[in-house]
Amino acid sequence: MSRQSPTPNWRDLAIGTAALEPGSSRYNRTGDWRSSRPVWNLENCVKCGVCTVFCPEGCIAMRAEDSTPLSDMEYCKGCGICVAECWTGCIAMEEEKE
């Protein structure tokens, strides 16, 4: 079976709901249970990369051209670890709105 649909019919599920190929996190978007999101104040950001190292989801990356930190909001759970670890205090959590 190729990549599973996000809304499969029960008859199409793999035996034992197994994941038959790697990389399912590519299409299992797990960011939608976040209740707040990190927001960077880039004026104070020194682009040290601490947030990328501490993100438990590995969903913060430094943009190649200018090392600006970018969080992938399709996977970010809003845990706030980046906020706690950022020593410049340039990240703040903002409540998600509908």
């Binding site: 996000p6 029960w10 034992g16 709901t17 197994a18 299992n28």
Partner: protein, 397 residues
């Protein structure tokens, strides 16, 4: 024809598992299942069975190890009872979801507390919803046959589900009975080599047991329902094939002298055999009474049951477990579910007997029969009752 030999039922079941050429056994000894596991350990230690025997520290670990073995493509067997089955609780559901055809024999025993090692059905009935195929043996020969059948059913490509074989603790497990042990060749022919639909394989890696988020959990549960209900046809077919080869026929619902019966007793497990003798006595006196048993408990053979009780006016369900503060005995609940709203549905008399090893005798059948006769004569159906309790039933003045 194979030879009939006097054997303890637990020992015979271990021998039957060995005949099935199981690859892996992970089990923890618990009364009254102990002899099954002990004897299997001996069979493996003696080199009679080429299998991995994994001594584990608990039943939780036992079934977890079984899942791993089965996922790797090994024919896997385990055995437990009561508290052990309860300790397996969370893995039971996982085994079924993963579609791992583990076979487990359960020597039915009361759940604590108070701590009690004797027979009733509280252990099995609290695991009704686990998604396993569940079948009941009433005597040693059936227990042996059902071990062999269970591997064939569980591994059938149309089923691929774990399966429990239930037999009463002590009153069946520890009894020495004349047993016809099938020959190795017959079992080999009846039970093809285990060919899993999918397994853990380094050349074709898959992940078993990943998270099922809200977008697939409902579908996964529908698969459990669809696969288990869909197993009914293959189970009937395989029971038939077993009958053709070995001469012993098993049906999803078993009947005994139910023709033209006005009053039918419904029960499961070893006490059915006592009930058969009692039915013979009643029939000899002209009483129209018969017996119906669920052999297959999951999937629940509702249509077979309806056919088996057709024409009866009173159905007397003898449960060996009940839900305190709830709807009474589990078998009676399901019988009511089957019959609710059916035209000409019989009256249902519900009793709970044989808890924690209390003997169930003719006297008990007779006492219940008095109630059934009264209901047959138009009396109001009483609420469920623990007929053997001293001090009167709760709610009685």
């Amino acid at each position: 024809m194979a030879e009939r030999k006097g054997m303890e039922v637990s020992i015979a079941m271990a021998e039957a598992a060995a005949l099935c050429d199981v690859d892996c056994i992970a089990a923890y000894p618990i009364t009254p299942q102990t002899h099954v596991v002990e004897h299997l350990a001996e069979i493996v230690a003696d080199g009679r069975l080429d299998a991995e025997f994994i001594p584990v520290e608990s039943e939780h670990a036992a079934l977890s190890a079984c899942c791993g073995c089965s996922a790797a493509g090994a024919r896997t067997f385990t055995a437990t009872s009561s508290q052990g089955l309860a300790l397996m609780h969370e893995i039971l559901f996982i085994t079924a979801n993963l579609r791992l055809p583990v076979v487990m024999v359960v020597a039915n025993r009361a759940l604590s507390g108070p701590i009690n090692i004797w027979n009733d059905h509280s252990d099995v009935m609290t695991e009704r919803d686990a998604g396993w195929v569940q079948i009941f043996a009433e005597n040693g020969q059936e227990a042996v046959d059902l071990v062999i059948l269970a591997h064939r059913i569980a591994e059938d490509k149309r089923v691929v589900l774990p399966m429990m074989v239930h037999f009463d603790g002590f009153t069946v497990s520890h009894v020495i009975e004349p047993i016809e042990m099938p020959t190795c060749d017959d079992v080999k022919e009846f039970l093809p080599e285990f060919a899993p639909l999918q397994r853990l394989d380094v050349d074709k890696p898959i992940s078993m047991g990943p998270v099922g988020m809200p977008n697939v959990y409902t579908e996964a549960k529908m698969m459990a329902e669809g696969v288990l209900r869909g197993a009914y046809g293959p189970i009937v077919e395989i029971l038939g094939a077993f009958g053709d080869r070995f001469g012993r026929r098993y049906r999803p619902v078993e009947t005994y002298r139910n023709e033209d019966a006005e009053i039918l007793y419904v029960m499961m497990g070893g006490i059915s055999e006592t009930a058969m003798t009692w039915v013979d006595q009643k029939r000899a006196k002209g009483e129209k009474v018969g017996l119906v048993r669920f052999r297959l408990w999951r999937p629940l053979p509702a249509d077979d049951f309806k056919a088996a009780i057709r024409g009866a006016s009173v159905v007397s369900v003898l449960d060996r477990h009940f839900s305190p503060g709830g709807a009474g005995g589990p078998v009676a609940q399901e019988v009511k579910w089957i019959l609710y709203g059916q035209p000409k549905a019989p009256q249902i008399v519900e009793t709970v007997v044989g808890l924690g090893g209390r003997d169930v005798t003719f006297k008990d059948f007779e006492k219940i029969y008095g109630t059934c006769k009264a209901v047959l004569g138009g009396a109001k159906v009483p609420p469920f009752e623990l007929t053997q309790v001293r001090g009167g039933h709760y709610g009685e003045v």
